[in-house]
Structures are given as structure tokens and as C-alpha cells.
């Protein structure tokens, strides 16, 4: 499979602090890649680097084109939707307005009604709460809203930053089930950053393990899952 997203020797810094030291990873067209690692390993920064939200050096290619150094809003317009850590919804706005904003950058706005139907189909509770302000939703509902909003872009690549953070196991499983469905039915490629390694490895086909800003291990998710040594020393389950 051809790679949709490729990062080569990626470095990222916040001011003087370097967080990524030459990281190389890829997301296959139609694939799910997961980036694992402990707190502070640079997982979130890797996603932020893809979106042009931090200072980077190295190469990032999307669909064969260089996107490093481009503005965040232009990267979104290429079809890269990012559901950031801490959900990143517009808390002062209604669920419906959040979804509208998700579709803001799209050129064809003709089938917007279909898209509302589509995300309400995945997340029925968003339909019930569509006039409610996003800030009044529960943590799980806000996470679903973040994913739903990302889908409104009709993205080719979905970036998910710790969707399981702080959520009840049942809610997490539901969100992962939906991500799998989106990937399978709509051929949206996914780059998933997670601390919950066992769930992420079940979902993904390719995995990278980050350790203090470097790739410690990379390979097919199934291999990482099977390797007891890796599991015990890095993944802790």
C-alpha cells in the first residue's frame, strides 16, 4: 500500500526545547497507524507537527506533496482533520454549530445535509443534543463531538489524539468501534496517538513506539502485540 502520510527525520521544538529528534513514520492509504509511548514521549507533538502547529524541521509529505512549513489552516484544507487532545471543541457553541465549523473548509458544501445524517448515524446522541452547548456535554460526548466534527471535513486522514483519555472503558470501546467503522466504510486513513496500547494495537495495522522523542520500535501492530518482551518492557500490560 502506498503511504498517504510520510514523516521523514522529523524534528520539532517548542522554543529551545527539542521534543522530537528525527522521527520517521508513515500512514498507509486506508490504513490505521498508531503512535504509542509514555507521557512526554512526543506523541502529541508528532500530531501537532503534521498540522503545522509547532516549529519543525525534516520532511512531511501528504499524498506525495510536501506539507511541512505550511499554515495549519491550509493543511486542514488538504483533508487532514485533527481531533486534538483535550477535545478542542468550541465549548461556547452548540453541537450543530461545531459540526458546521467542521465542514467550514470544504469546497463542495452541497451534500452537507447528508454529512449531518452520517455523523448523527455514528453518534446518535449528538442529534439529541444538537442545540446544546458543547461545553455542557460530558467528557465522552465531547470526544464524540470532536471526532464527529473532524468527519464533517470529509477528511482523507483523521488525526486522533488520545481519544480514550479520561473516559469510561465502555465509552472508549464505543469510540474505537466507530473509528474502525469509519476507516473500513469510508476509507479514511487514521493516525492514532494513544496511551492505551492494547486497544490501539487491536485497532491499528502499523505501530510506532516513541521514547523521549525517538522511535524505539516500529512494525506491524500484530507483531508488537505478540512480542512479550516489548509488551512487558514498553507497553505495561
Amino acid at each position: 500500500m502506498a503511504a498517504l502520510l510520510e514523516a521523514h527525520q522529523l524534528e520539532a521544538r517548542y522554543g529551545w526545547t527539542k521534543v522530537l529528534h528525527g522521527v520517521t513514520f508513515a500512514v498507509a492509504e486506508g490504513g490505521i497507524t498508531t503512535v504509542l509511548g509514555a507521557n512526554g514521549a512526543g506523541k502529541t507533538t508528532a500530531l501537532r507537527a503534521v498540522c503545522g502547529m509547532v516549529e519543525t524541521s525534516g520532511e512531511i509529505c501528504f499524498d506525495g506533496r510536501r506539507i511541512d512549513g505550511r499554515a495549519t489552516e491550509d493543511i486542514a484544507r488538504l483533508g487532514i482533520a485533527h481531533a486534538p487532545e483535550g477535545r478542542g471543541t468550541f465549548v461556547g457553541m452548540t453541537v450543530e454549530e461545531n459540526l458546521w465549523l467542521g465542514a467550514y473548509a470544504r469546497r463542495d458544501r452541497t451534500r452537507l445535509a447528508d454529512d449531518f445524517e452520517r455523523v448523527y448515524h455514528y453518534f446518535p446522541m449528538l442529534r439529541e443534543r444538537r442545540r446544546q452547548r458543547a461545553g455542557t456535554l460530558s467528557g465522552g460526548e465531547q470526544q464524540m463531538l470532536a471526532v464527529a466534527r473532524a468527519l464533517m471535513l470529509r477528511p482523507r486522514l483523521l488525526l486522533l489524539d488520545e481519544p480514550s483519555l479520561g473516559l469510561a472503558p465502555l465509552v472508549v470501546r464505543e469510540i474505537f468501534r466507530i473509528v474502525r467503522a469509519i476507516n473500513r466504510d469510508e476509507h479514511v486513513s487514521v493516525l492514532l496517538v494513544e496511551q492505551n496500547a492494547s486497544l490501539a494495537l487491536d485497532l491499528a495495522d502499523q505501530a510506532y513506539l516513541l521514547e523521549t522523542g525517538r522511535v524505539a520500535i516500529a512494525g506491524p501492530a500484530a507483531d508488537l502485540r505478540r512480542d512479550d518482551a516489548i509488551r512487558r518492557s514498553y507497553l505495561g500490560y
Binding site: C51, M53, A71, T72, E73, D74, A76, R77, A81, H82, P84, G88, T89, F90, V91, G92, M93, E97, W100, L101, G102, Y104, A105, R149, L153
Partner: protein, 293 residues
Amino acid sequence: MDVFLQQVVSGLATGGIYASLALALVMIYQATDVVNFAQGEMAMFSTYLAWSLLNRGAPYWLAFALTVAIAFVGGLAIERLIIRPVENAPVLAIVIVTLGLLVIFNSVAGWLYSYVIQPFPSPFPRAPIRIGRVVFGPHDLGVIGVTLVMLVLLWLFFRFTSLGLALRAAAQNPAGSRLVGIRVGWMLALGWGLAALIGAVAGMMVAPIIFLEPNMMSGILIYAFASATLGGFTSPGGAVLGGFLVGVIENLAGTYVRFIGTDLKLTLALLVIIVVLLVKPSGLFGTSVVKRV
């Protein structure tokens, strides 16, 4: 009773002007956390533009439309050329830049048009309007009408268009807005353009009442501050309501409280600011912002 009604209506008219300017202040404040001290002088300068157009024989509403358009583009340009380079500077630095703009606009207006007070025409008929036994000034009613139409249009724009939605999003959550592809920089510029546009309308509406001169807006701006403080700097609707309230309070106090008269009206605005800040700093409808440090 008749005097009371007349004073309320004329309070609503000036209140509409305070409301407009307060709304302009709040729009920029919400998007950038900056209070634009030059808001009043931008409005004054726009009004002079309208005056020049009228002097060259342009019909009133054509001059009005042209001025509004020029003010919008001017506001946009000010943000792009003057505010943007200091975008990441501390808030205080940006505030000083707006104070600099205030002085520049004031001096340039004085230089171009002199400090001589000029009359400015009202587009509304002169004959007083009689409803029952009460007589209303047509300009007062006209100002209320124009202000309300503008406010409704703005509300529709922010509520029902995707550009308005994007503007609100950019003000609330710039990082999140970039992620959905909103060009936040342009949204800020658009906010400045709209604020300048609102100010231009307010200037043209108030000039027939207080006459045209480079310092005409300094008092009005203080009333606008009082309005925005009263309604809440974080609430556009609150600022508008605050404007109408301040206008009516000011007029009624001037009429019925003898020692206030016309001399102490402005002091009343400052009193409103101080009382609100002491009792409810976030204003009637504002939400207090808690920042983690």
C-alpha cells in the same frame, strides 16, 4: 409624563450610538483581548469622509454607503498593516498602539479639516413627529431605527452565516479554528473592518446632534466604555443593552436630577464604570474569565 417619554426616546437615540460603539469595542476585545482606544477617532474620521463626500454634492445615502464601505476597508487595512505586526506583543503594547492611532487620527483630522465645528446634516425630516400629545424629534427616532436595523443585520450575520460563525469561532478558540481550516488572521482583520463600519454609522448618526469636530467622539467613547462595562465586555448583546441603558439613565438623570444637568452627565458615565467594576466586574451579562497561571 410627556417630558419623561421624550427624554426616554432621546435617551434611546443616544443610547443606540453608545450601543453601536460599545459593540464595536466588544467585537475587537473578544477577538484579541485588546480594547481599541482608537475606535472613537476612527468613527470621527469616517464621519469627516462622509462630510467631504456631502460637500462634493453626493446624495446623503450614497455618501452614507460609500463611507460605510471605506470604513470597512480602512478597518481591515489598519488590522493588517498596523496591528498585525504587533500581534504577538504583550496586550499593553497593542493598547499603546491603539492609543497612538487615536492621537494620529485626531491630529490628521484637525490638520485636514481644522478644529472648527461643522454642522452635519440629518437624513431624516425636520418636522417633529406627534404621537398623541407627545412630540418626538425625528432624528432621534431615525437614529433608533438605523441602529436597530444595523444590530439586527449583525445578529443575523453572526448567527446564520458560516462566515459569521467562523468569526465567532476564531474569537473563542483560535487554535481550534485553524484546525478546521479557518484563516484566523483574516477573521481578526474582518472583525476590525466590521467594528470600523459600525463606528462609521454611529459617527454619522451622532454628528447631527453634537456637531462635527475632531474631538467629537472622546465623550462618546467614554459612554461606550461605560456601556460595555455595564453590559459586560464579554457579551455583545449585553454591551448593546448597556448602551441603551446608559443613554436613558444619562438623559433622565440630566433632566430630573438638578445638580447633574448637562455639566455632570459625563461624570455619570464614569460613575457607572466605577460602580459596575466594584459590584460586578464582569458586567450584567458578562462571564468572568478564569485564567490558570
